[in-house]
Amino acid sequence: MTAPIVTADHPGDAERVVRFDRAERWLHWTNATLFLILLATGMTLYVPALSSLVGRRVLLKDTHVISGILLPVPLLLAYAGSWRAALRRDVRRLSRWSVDDRRWITSLGRKGRASMGKFNAGQKVNAIFVAGCIPVLLATGSIMKWFTPFPLAWRTGATFVHDWLALTLVVVISAHILKALAEPVALRAMVRGTVPRRHAERHHPRWAAELDAELDAEERHGTEARN
């Protein structure tokens, strides 16, 4: 399949579809804010050059601990009410791994696009990894903070896991931010919520098909309601 060339002034671009609803965007940005605070304070606590530059160890440590405790809150809130429908659907999408996802990721995004759903393999790996980081960092951070009930080796072990996982997370989040900056359409989807329909058709054909089915169903439903 040859994808149509999409330019910004293509007439079809005016038509936009919702990619992330308000609850999902709220979750993303509160989570992102907490993660950035945690990474900034965490790095300052442990990279000697930064520690010397910033000082204020007690303040940094308290900020880090409080942000850490708050970390699961946005996720729990996003799941707590009727606004969770879109999030739940997206979580199901993100956690499915298809044969094409493997092809897509091993070909660095060149193959497997024809049957791409709402999320590509990179987005799935990012979301699953970040979601997995939350409980692991929370558990190891808690052992580091409230260490007295545990054997001493556990604290060293927890520090080991916490530090290396955080380092990996810095790399993953940096890649995530760089990709977002390189793809303004994707970034805008997380800021404003929508993408041009053509973008969906081109990059996420299976998702575009789902949207068509929903729209058709809604129009049918609307007609029935009016009758």
Binding site: P48, R56, S95, I128, E218
Partner: protein, 269 residues
């Protein structure tokens, strides 16, 4: 409307904007798709748990493996790699305090026969020197083994000033203006408590509390006050600064390595 209903956001171009906010037709996935999300997250939790149990061993192996690289690293990049055997720089104020070798003075005062003021030459050349090679153990878990220290025994400095009979404690002041520590008279006169001007074979750097810091070998690192500029002999422990900065934040006053703060590290003395 009954059943599901996408919320309309409005119209753009020729078609309606649709937000998938309410129950919509069930998602269908091709049968060959595999649900990996939950498994991956449980897997991360499992690996994390193993890391808590065995990470101490892995880390020490890794430190040994990386040592040839970190020792010869000119770029400083390895300081970003987690390690359990490297000094981490803790300071409690906004910027690192700074004092040049020339302007540095150390005062010994309080309940003493005479107040003594020393400069760096006194500490490095005039007074008897003591060398000590001991581990530095932080209460937060990291430990640097076999650190060479050089300086003047605190006991000798106190002798010089002549400690009053009524003295019970020694209070240390940092020229960062905030950090203080205390030791009992008995602890302060131990042979392994130094007013150190050299560590790791070089003059104590600004990051490590230079030009002069305290090194209390048998105790956790927070007792080894950095940027030392005043030693005050006291006849009581007074609020609010005593028994010390970190003690006021909950750490033990008698900070023996392996026998305080609920910890069981190998003693450093």
């Amino acid at each position: 409307m009954n059943g599901w209903a996408p919320a309309r956001l409005g119209r753009l171009g020729s078609r309606t904007l649709v937000a998938v906010e309410r129950p919509t037709p069930a998602l269908e996935f091709p049968p060959e798709d595999r649900p990996v999300g939950r498994r991956a997250i449980l897997g991360m939790l499992g690996v994390g748990g193993l890391g808590i149990l065995w990470g101490a061993k892995v880390q020490s192996g890794l430190d040994q493996f990386l040592r040839p690289v970190t020792l010869n690293d000119q770029t400083g990049l390895t300081s970003f790699l987690p390690s359990s055997e490297r000094f981490r720089i803790y300071s409690v104020t906004g910027t690192l305090p700074s004092r040049t070798d020339a302007e540095y003075r150390l005062t010994v005062d309080g309940a003493v026969d005479r107040t003594v003021e020393l400069d760096l030459t006194d500490l490095r050349d005039r007074l008897p020197q003591t060398d000590l090679t001991r581990d530095f153990q932080c209460v937060t878990g990291w430990r640097v083994e076999d650190v060479p220290w050089r300086g003047v025994k605190l006991a000798d400095l106190l002798d010089d000033a002549g400690v009053s009979e009524a003295a019970t404690h020694v209070r240390f002041h940092s020229f960062d203006g905030v950090y203080t520590e205390t030791l009992t008279m008995e602890q302060a006169t131990r042979d392994d408590v130094l007013v150190a001007h050299h560590m790791l074979g070089d003059p104590v750097t600004r990051e490590h509390g230079g030009p002069v810091r305290l090194y209390v070998a048998p105790m956790y690192g927070y007792k080894s006050l950095k940027w030392l500029d005043r030693i005050e002999v006291a006849t009581a422990l007074d609020a609010p600064t005593d028994p010390g900065y970190w003690e006021n934040l909950g750490y033990d006053t008698d900070a023996w390595v392996g026998d305080s703060n609920g910890l069981s590290d190998t003693p450093t003395a």
